[in-house]
């Protein structure tokens, strides 16, 4: 069983599904409404919704006739938390990069006069 974040990313790694989420960010919608902007069949949209629902990114009303889709924010929050870890990872690396660049420049200046050949 894959971890939740992998499931979330797998669900997000499709442009149609991301477009569906963007639409749902503006409010709930029916399958028909969601299908409108796309040149794909209703069953294809339903398959995408199933993936999103399986990943916990949306939920759907229980009434059989009228099953509006809604966005579920919790999983996106997990993605954001995860990204902020990465942000720290790289930002701290780049701090070290800047410090190391100073060292490299210093070393260059000490070792040999700057002379560039093309």
């Amino acid at each position: 069983m894959p971890d939740p974040l992998s499931v979330t990313f797998s669900a997000l790694s499709d442009p149609t599904r991301r477009a569906i989420l963007a639409r749902l960010a503006q409010g709930e919608a029916t399958v028909n409404e969601l299908a409108e902007p796309f040149e794909i069949s209703l069953p294809a949209v339903s398959r995408h919704l199933k993936v999103l629902e399986g990943a916990g990114l949306i939920n759907r009303g229980r009434s059989a006739q009228w099953r509006p889709c809604r966005l579920e924010p919790e999983r996106l929050k997990a993605v954001d938390d995860w990204l902020s870890l990465y942000r720290r990872f790289w930002e701290e690396s780049f701090d070290k990069m800047a410090a190391y660049l100073e060292e490299v420049k210093q070393g260059e200046a000490d070792a040999r006069p700057k002379k560039k050949r093309r």
Partner: protein, 159 residues
């Protein structure tokens, strides 16, 4: 909240840094394993291992370690190399954990300004850059609004 929404708007991780060195030098810090090992990793980490096969389709693999977090391997494949200008590679952690198996695409551009380099770093959890670029807007907006929503719910629950 402002800060968080900002980070979310940049949701695919965008970090812009200016370095006091020309692009050729900054670029070399990515392309040479010797250089790479000297700076890679957050502040409490060292990077004792790195191999870099610097060509399109070539692989890199490296390990960072800290007393607290042990050894962490990551690796990827170079997709685009334009010396001193642009670098694209995949990135994935090899260890177990929440990020295992999620392949990311890193895109870095280097721009010279007054002898300095503006390095624009971008990382996204998608397999294909093309796909990502075609729908950045929708993805970002969805995040932007949803996180604000999530925060409100969290606040309500805390209250």
């Amino acid at each position: 909240m402002r800060a968080q929404r900002k980070s979310v708007a940049d949701s695919e991780l965008l970090i812009v840094r200016t370095f006091k060195a020309p692009p050729s030098v900054v670029f070399a810090l990515w392309s040479s394993a010797e250089h790479f090992k000297r700076w890679m990793g957050p502040k409490d980490f060292t990077c004792p291992e790195a191999t870099i096969d610097f060509r399109v389709g070539g692989r890199y693999r490296a390990m960072i370690k800290s007393a607290e977090h042990g050894e962490n391997w990551f690796s990827g494949v170079y997709r685009e190399i334009v010396p001193g200008k642009r670098l694209v590679f995949t990135f994935a952690w090899e260890n177990e954990g929440p990020s295992a198996g999620v392949e990311m695409v890193v895109t870095i551009t280097f721009e010279e300004r007054d002898g300095k380099t503006i390095q624009t770093f971008h990382q996204a959890p998608f397999r294909s850059v093309e796909r990502r670029d075609s729908h950045v807007g929708g993805w970002t907006e969805a995040f932007d609004k949803q996180i604000a929503y999530a925060e409100n719910i969290a606040k309500e629950q805390a209250a």
